[in-house]
């Protein structure tokens, strides 16, 4: 390769993201009551997780809220054994889970699972397997106030 002169650089920007009223409601229930609640479409009854302020299929406001179950079924997953810049330390497992009563699946970490043998761990995370929601004891009002564990 030709001799290459490069100039080091970077950018770092901090943000304060407004959660929206739907987000505030969801995260307040999560933090204060250790509950997962979800908006339901008044027209097609779709229960949406992550929560949204309107049903994207019917284009109507989704202002009815329901409690969803604290167990569900794995819909897809992966296990990450290598380090990416600024991303969680490996290994970690994440899964999309259809919680009982919800119409859409929501992603979170699957914890308390031995990931040393990646193939063996993948077998345990198969689609259709059941997980439970485990709430953290000290909750901060973020999506990491809970995680999944295999039942």
């Amino acid at each position: 390769m030709d001799h290459m002169e490069t100039l080091p650089g970077g950018w770092s920007v901090e943000y304060s993201y407004a959660m929206g009223l739907t987000g505030v409601k969801f995260f307040t229930a999560l933090k204060e009551e250790a509950k997962i609640i979800a908006p339901k479409c008044p027209k097609c009854s779709l229960v949406m997780l992550p929560p949204r302020s309107f049903c994207e299929r019917c284009f109507v406001e989704a202002d009815q809220w329901v409690d969803v179950g604290v167990e569900g079924m794995i819909q897809s997953f992966t296990i990450v054994p290598i380090k990416f810049e600024s991303l969680p330390d490996p290994p970690y497992a994440v899964a999309y889970v259809l919680l009982d009563g919800a119409g859409t699946a929501m992603v979170n970490f699957v914890k308390n699972l031995d990931l040393t043998d990646i193939r063996e761990a993948a077998r345990k995370l198969a689609i259709g397997n059941r997980v439970r929601v485990v709430f953290e004891k000290e909750r901060k009002g973020t999506i990491q106030d809970f995680h999944y564990e295999l039942i």
């Binding site: 390769m1 030709d2 001799h3 290459m4 650089g9 970077g10 950018w11 943000y15 993201y17 959660m19 987000g23 995260f27 779709l46 997780l49 992550p50 994207e56 299929r57 079924m73 819909q75 897809s76 997953f77 992966t78 296990i79 990450v80 054994p81 290598i82 990416f84 810049e85 600024s86 991303l87 969680p88 970690y92 994440v94 999309y96 259809l98 919800a102 119409g103 859409t104 699946a105 929501m106 992603v107 979170n108 970490f109 990646i118 193939r119 761990a121 993948a122 198969a126 689609i127 973020t142 999506i143 990491q144």
Partner: protein, 393 residues
């Protein structure tokens, strides 16, 4: 459509991990090549579409403004198009619409990217997820491919070996493409023994981070006929979007399954309708597809109607998608071997146009090409673009 439109000039730089050129310089190199093939100068161009995806990879915000001068945009109609990985296809579609609408007769579509100048492209790609519900879980485009692969394996029995074979074919095809970033004779075993990045996706199942530029000149029928070359007619052009939520596409009340690229199928149906294509596997000889992971290609050839859902892995084993097979998929090596994201989908159109024009390098040119399908994919496997190029219209 007020007038027909065709590609009459194509330009690409070589692709590699690093380039000793700035983004304006790379863009200009591609633009000048495309103009030269079209027998034109900057003065002959009516309008410019700049193909630029997420600019955090190269670390200069809105680099389209930086490139205006180097690609002849000064004092001319100019726009930037951005649909993530589909950007290049969307930019070409905008260029096509510019001409087809009759607003302009000659349009230069050009762009460049340098994905590897940032320390870790996946750090950037993680920020495409919302900060509240999904970003914190270490999601990347590689985990996205893993989620698709897990479902495809579950629904159809697709195997890691079948995915590996896509990499083997792509790397082999890229040997015939002097511009390709990665290339070589690799075996299924090499792929299977490569380290897992996100189970079941391994190193060789993923595309590289590439640097390079690409451009096409799109012209009206009147100008195309005077160009002295066989034009690549744009016979169909379509792009559809899907929900951003992956979890809406698996189980429960899902309208589509994330294993399948049903949005690509929608875009293809519209593009095929425009182009009058009824039997894709019979009428289309070459597919240049934006498939940055092996599983994407298996899912996408099904969506393009070359075979039924779940059949691609088996047909791939039989050579159906080899250069001399029924449909030559990515004779260039495709996005799996070269991914300069902002122009990767434009590169598909460049390589597809060369097949129609008969100007592809010897090791890449497929015989008797009448129709080519080129695709682009962006967002959460969410934006799917289809362009049909033909030897006649």
């Amino acid at each position: 459509m007020r007038q027909r439109a065709a590609i009459i000039g194509v330009g690409q730089t070589p692709y590699r991990s690093h380039q000793n050129f700035t983004i304006p310089e790379l863009s200009q190199q591609a633009a000048l090549q495309a103009l030269e093939m079209a027998g034109m100068t900057m003065d002959d161009i009516d309008a410019i579409v700049y193909s630029m995806g997420p600019s955090q990879f190269l670390g200069v915000n809105d680099p389209d403004k930086w490139c205006v001068d180097s690609i002849g945009g000064r004092h001319k109609p100019f726009m930037r198009i951005h649909t993530g990985g589909a950007t290049g296809a969307s930019a070409a579609q905008a260029g096509f619409c510019h001409v087809a609408s009759g607003l302009f007769n000659t349009v230069l579509v050009v762009g460049a990217d340098k994905v590897r100048e940032c320390k870790d492209s996946q750090q950037v790609l993680n920020t495409i997820w919302d900060p509240f519900y999904e970003r914190r879980f270490g999601l990347t485009t590689i985990t996205m491919a893993a989620f698709q692969a897990v479902r495809h394996m579950h629904l159809y029995g697709t195997t890691e070996e079948q995915m590996a074979l896509v990499a083997v074919r792509s790397w082999g095809n890229a040997l015939g493409n002097p511009l390709a970033h990665l290339k070589g004779k690799i075996s299924v075993d090499d792929v299977l023994k490569s380290p897992y990045f996100c189970w079941p996706i391994k190193k060789y199942d993923t595309c590289p981070s590439s640097a390079g530029g690409a451009a096409v000149v799109i012209a009206s029928e009147e100008i195309a006929r005077k160009s002295g070359r066989r034009p690549a007619w744009i016979k169909g052009c379509s792009e559809f979007a899907n929900t951003v939520f992956l979890g809406d596409q698996m189980g429960g009340r899902a309208q589509m399954d994330f294993a399948d690229s049903d949005i690509l199928a929608m875009a293809a149906a519209e593009a095929y309708r425009q182009a009058g294509i009824r039997e894709p596997a019979r009428e289309i000889r070459v597919a240049e597809m934006y498939a940055p992971f092996t599983i994407c290609e298996l899912s996408m050839v099904e969506a393009l109607g070359f075979c039924g859902k779940g059949e691609s892995g088996r047909l791939n084993e039989k050579g159906f998608f080899n250069r001399e097979g029924r449909v030559a998929v990515n004779p260039s090596g495709g996005t799996l071997c070269t991914n300069a994201i902002a122009i990767a989908a434009l590169a598909r159109i460049c390589d597809g146009a060369l097949q129609i024009m008969g100007l592809a390098p010897e090791g890449m040119q497929v015989e008797n090409v009448r129709n080519v399908v080129c695709t682009g994919e962006g967002g959460s496997f969410q934006f799917h673009a289809v362009t049909i190029l033909g030897a006649d219209h």
